[in-house]
Symmetry: C2
Subunit: 207 residues, 2 copies
């Protein structure tokens, strides 16, 4: 930090995360959604965000749509690139955590080691892993983007669930059955956890 | 999941930048501070942020301290790495812009082409380039981090102003004379511009 001793007025001012949290009237946190393609991670994250917003919270969703074409546009899907992709997303989420936002990340993030790396970047209370559990067959039946069909035809290499493994979380803070329960039920489960953990307050007004 | 019985509810909800701006009661924007090492970019950005915070605005400062050791920890100072550094910072700032934050970036960003790249990522009204103008001799005299001394001794390669060029902005939205004016004066000039451009409101209460 540049701090010229010659000018006492040129000192560093710092707005801390704590101050931002006070301003926002809620804690910041990282909600790390993981699960197969088609399990509903991004949909759930956006639906949770909508509820948070309506309650006056500050949040942001990071998903393939806004990260893969921008910050990570230079990365492919090799193991190394996938690792780097998750690393950047983790660092990005950490900055947004500092900025006072409830940061929701919605990426397959199939490997335990990478999710652990993301978790290790922040304090234990700041990282909430949410496993969107949904049978491969259900995801494949939905096949919203037609990706499973392509993967089965061999047109996509290293496709999670087909030609690349998914390692289910063993210590997720929350498991939501996105293949069984309605979106609304899943949203309520996430909000309940956020209240339990003191990230948001109240039962009617989330923040 | 008994397929899309509840599928109609599994649609994407989206909280837009416009909604966030309404919630925050100010526009979001990128304030891109550029200038020599020691010109006071980071100090000024943090001081502006303090004023914004006290007025109830949402903002965040990106600088070497929180980016170089994290998101860009894998990058060095070669031309290619510097370009990639600025590219990532630009993408990061763009996401924070979407998140409704007044995003202040404080990096030397010596090359016009890279600043132009950052500018091109967003709409013209969203990018405010602020040139922190300060003589090399003043920066070198301050030498807060002892970097100029090291650079003069040849211990740092490609050091801007010594062994690598700095290309001053030709169309900066604002020039602040950080080598001449007090921090408070510079802060007021930035806030004045933000009010002029309708990013923040009022004259007493910034937001």
């Amino acid at each position: 930090m540049s701090e010229p001793t010659s000018n006492i007025k040129w000192h560093a001012a710092t707005i801390t995360r704590e101050l931002r949290q006070q301003q926002n009237q809620h804690r910041s946190a990282i909600l790390w959604f993981t699960g197969l393609s088609g399990a509903g991670k991004s949909t759930l994250a956006h639906a949770v965000e909508q509820e948070l917003f309506l309650s006056g919270c500050r949040s942001f969703v990071l998903d393939g749509d806004n990260v893969r074409h921008g910050l990570c546009a230079d990365l492919g899907f090799s193991d190394a690139d996938r690792r780097e992709n998750i690393r950047r997303i983790s660092e990005l989420a950490k900055l947004m955590l500092e900025a006072g936002l409830i940061t929701l990340t919605a990426f397959i993030s199939p490997f335990s080691a990478e999710r652990q790396m993301a978790r290790n970047l922040v304090a234990p209370a700041d990282f909430i892993e949410i496993y969107c559990r949904c049978d491969l067959s259900t995801c494949e039946q939905r096949d919203v983007k037609g990706l499973y069909q392509k993967a089965r035809r061999g047109e996509i290499a290293h496709f999670t669930g087909i030609s690349s493994p998914y390692q289910p979380p063993e210590q997720a803070e929350l498991i939501v059955d996105t293949g069984r329960d309605s979106l609304e039920e899943c949203v309520q489960q996430v909000l309940h956890l956020l209240r339990q953990r003191g990230i948001i307050q109240g039962s009617n007004n989330a923040c």
